[in-house]
């Protein structure tokens, strides 16, 4: 699973820490999601989608092996 969280975060000029606080997780979680080491739950994905005002499928894309 690929994601564009880092890009979306940069567009809103947010640090990982700020984003983490806004959606109620740790900075480590944001870091892991951005590096595609962790696929977030639907709830977290929707929270990000609302925050960035983007559709979930704009933020997260399936890869060939998914």
């Amino acid at each position: 699973m690929q994601n564009k969280i880092k890009v979306a975060r940069a567009e809103m000029d947010l640090t990982q820490e700020q984003l983490a606080q806004k959606i109620g997780v740790s900075r480590q979680t944001i870091n892991s999601i951005e590096k595609s080491r962790y696929v977030p739950s639907t709830i977290l994905a929707l929270k990000m989608s609302h925050l960035f005002s983007k559709r979930v499928d704009e933020l997260f894309q399936l890869e060939k092996e998914d």
Partner: protein
Amino acid sequence: MEEKVTIASCQNNERSKLLKILKFKLPHKYKKLGLISAGLLMLGLIISKFAGYNHLINKDAIRTVMLLALLIASLSQEKVEDEYVNHLRGQSYILAFICSLGYSIILPLITFVIDFLIVRITGDGQTNFYEISAFEVMFMMICFQLLFLVGLKRLDLAE
């Protein structure tokens, strides 16, 4: 149709009970408390063994309390508890389960082979199969879980 609804609602009830157990966590402060208590009990056991007070204490009772202390540490929240930590916690339980099973299978085999070789070389005694106690397996499992959780978090930070 009515019967199906009843069965479904029963299943939902069971599921919600299980989810409650899965979601149960103690506050973070209990982690330190559990680890310190377990450490002190372990130290007490070691000292009593070397100081010759072994007969004065109930080893089984202390071991049970030690397991309880480690369980408290295992069930305690991290400083920041979110879904990612829960995910790592789940992975640490799986790894701990596999490793402790591996430990309880491999260790007796290794001791058996060593025992067998010693008997072959020295020519006296007999080969015994080392039995791992339930305490040993549970202790290893809970220690592995705590270590894997720390390890997984550290590995993640390191990358």
